[in-house]
């Protein structure tokens, strides 16, 4: 079964607005990663946050991790049309080589 689940399933926002999506997971993790997938393409890694970290930034991306609630959020600030994509969280547990992906959040940025 999938470890991570994203919420909401879909999100539509106006260009310039912020987009926030959440990921919940079930078991203790080593790290949590966020990926973006443009239509018809492969996934691209955005950011990795380790279990001992609470927040990370990368450009217009901000990721938080709350291990007590087993949840993470991805914030995209000042969204652009190019941010239109599906976003996936993936969890890694200790002593395991595998990533477990959620079903994703589809973000549409309207011009």
């Amino acid at each position: 079964s999938q470890q991570g689940e994203e919420d909401p399933q879909a999100l539509s926002i106006q260009e310039g607005e912020n987009a926030t999506m959440n990921c919940s997971y079930k078991t203790s993790i080593n790290n949590l990663q966020w990926y973006r997938q443009n239509s018809g393409r492969g996934l691209v890694h955005l950011i990795l946050i380790r279990s001992n970290e609470r927040e990370k930034h990368s450009g217009r991306l901000r990721v938080t991790l709350d291990t007590s609630k087993k949840s993470s959020s991805l914030l995209i600030t000042a969204s652009r049309a190019a941010d239109t994509a599906s976003y996936f969280c993936a969890t890694a547990i200790y002593n395991d080589y595998k990533l477990s992906f959620g079903a994703g959040t589809t973000v549409t940025v309207r011009a």
Partner: protein
């Protein structure tokens, strides 16, 4: 972009026929993965490899086999294709397993008729 190539990119095959998908990398990464992506399911792991000739099953391995005889190549075989295996297949590579980022190929769209 990470040097990872999937072939073929598209394939239509008939039920009951064997099919092999190839993933080739030029990054010398130790870990390689095969996922399938279906609407509403995200990515599900089929098989993965943690070294030459070292492979293990993922969560949806039934009906699939893999082989890795060289660091750079990871083959996924559908022994006898079924319509339920119609999907988009992605290969991914990683230098340190799940501890670091994974790099994905462009995907193979497989249709079983």
């Amino acid at each position: 972009d990470a040097g990872i190539t999937q072939s073929p990119r598209h394939k239509v095959t008939e039920t009951g026929t064997p099919v092999t998908l190839r993933c080739h990398q030029t990054e010398n990464h130790r870990y390689m993965y095969w996922y399938r992506q279906d609407p509403g399911h995200g990515l599900r792991l089929i098989h993965y490899s943690y070294g030459v000739k070292d492979t293990d099953k993922g969560e949806v391995s039934d009906g699939y086999s893999v082989s890795r005889s060289k660091t750079e190549d990871f083959l996924l075989t559908l022994e006898s294709a079924t319509s339920s295996q119609t999907s988009v297949y992605f290969c991914a590579i990683s230098g340190q397993g799940s501890s670091t980022e994974a790099f994905f190929g462009q995907g193979t769209r497989l249709t079983v008729v």
